[in-house]
């Protein structure tokens, strides 16, 4: 094994890592927005909303993310332009595809988190005179967040790993960087190993930070 290539190619891994983190970050934010909307639709009294949200969630969860990424890449045609060295014609469809995908999973996380709150809580809030919306805001959501946050953190970790799929549409994230280096030095093994270690450092750091945040949240238990 020879890691001598790192002195010449570490720039690629650095760029790839930054882009992977950027993609994961944007995806989770967009995914939470999409997921919250879907979750609210799914627990709403409106049947049309419920059916639409369920259809979305089932379809996204029932198809491979690789297929979804490619569909969005060909579906969303954007003229070539670059922001911070990133090719937006690839980056934007890529992030949208991941967000649409993540949103479906986040929706289920949020729905489960809300429904896990004892239904006596809603009754107690309503009996004091709170409206359904106020009860959600002051009583249900604050408790649901404690159920949701750990799972949401896991989703962030999943997104970091799944963003590697975007290498197929030519976004230079970590996986694609490994490919580039692999081809340049005619050796597959070492660049892939470096990539795996970087992914692990990212996800392991996240799960540690989440563990701390979770313990802080537990003050009232």
């Amino acid at each position: 094994m020879d890691f001598g290539f790192l002195s010449d190619y570490s720039y690629y891994f650095l760029t790839g890592t930054v882009n992977t983190v950027l993609i994961a970050f944007l995806t989770v934010i967009a995914g939470v927005v999409i997921g919250t909307l879907l979750a609210l639709m799914k627990i709403s009294g409106n049947r049309a909303f419920r059916v639409a949200a369920t259809a979305y969630i089932e379809f996204i969860r029932g198809t491979p993310i690789l297929v979804q990424a490619l569909i969005f890449f060909y579906l969303i045609q954007i003229p070539d332009f670059k922001v911070l060295g990133l090719d937006m014609a690839r980056f934007i469809p890529g992030v949208i595809a991941l967000s649409v995908n993540s949103g479906a999973y986040v929706a289920e996380i949020i729905r489960a988190g809300i429904q896990a709150v004892d239904k006596g809580q809603m009754e107690a809030a309503r009996s004091l005179g709170f409206t359904a919306g106020q009860s959600m805001r002051y009583i249900i959501i604050p408790q649901a967040i404690k159920n949701i946050l750990p799972a949401l953190g896991n989703e962030f970790i999943v997104v970091i790993k799944e963003s590697s799929i975007l290498s197929v549409i030519g976004i230079v994230e970590l996986m694609r960087s490994a490919d580039i280096v692999k081809t340049a030095i005619y050796r597959p093994f070492e660049p892939l190993l470096v990539t795996a270690v970087i992914y692990f450092i990212l996800t392991f750091t996240c799960s540690r930070v989440l563990g701390i945040a979770e313990r802080r949240l537990r003050t009232s238990d």
Partner: protein, 240 residues
Amino acid sequence: MIKVKNLHKRFGKLHVLRGVEVSIKKGEVIVVIGPSGSGKSTFLRCLNLLEQPSDGEIIFEGINITDKRNDINKLRQKMGMVFQNFNLFPHLTVLENITLAPVKLKNEKPKQAERNALALLKRIGLEEKADNYPAQLSGGQKQRIAIVRALAMSPDVMLFDEPTSALDPEMVGEVLEVMKELASEGMTMVVVTHEMGFAREVGTRVLFMDEGSVKEEGSPEEIFSNPANERTKEFLSKVL
């Protein structure tokens, strides 16, 4: 104060309430007894529309609360409710549990609401628990605080849904004591309970419910010493 006319409640095919007729005056302590499945909890939960009646009318302080045009959220502010499982808000401290509704719904100043809450806590001897979370309290303490949380809204009537059924036996007394005190101050109360001693001692009127309707009602002496209805006799012979 509360008039219930021909109240029906169906859960699908199950006909739980079959024409309940009750009239409750200010200052009365109505104790509802009866076998499980007789519809007494459902009846109580209909009074503040936690259950939507299938048919019939409930008039509270002259307002038909079953009429959808009336704002049930405003009306519920005047009807305190205490649950079997306490239902304190676990993410809030005891003090926050009590002050949340007055501050958010009645626009009380937080300082004022806290003073009221502390005064109420002092009455039940739990002022030192103000900054604790519900998980740190015993069942009896939780239920006393749940009562105080409802009282903080200054309701006109208090509804109790089997308030001592989930408690360890040695904690039943402290909760009943608070309820007795409340009754002696003239609070209008509707209490669903299996505590016959409380019914006899504190109730001004006892309703015996069975199979979804009120089978017999009267003063505690009448019901307990000289029940007229066969089902009442049978029930009391089993529980007394």
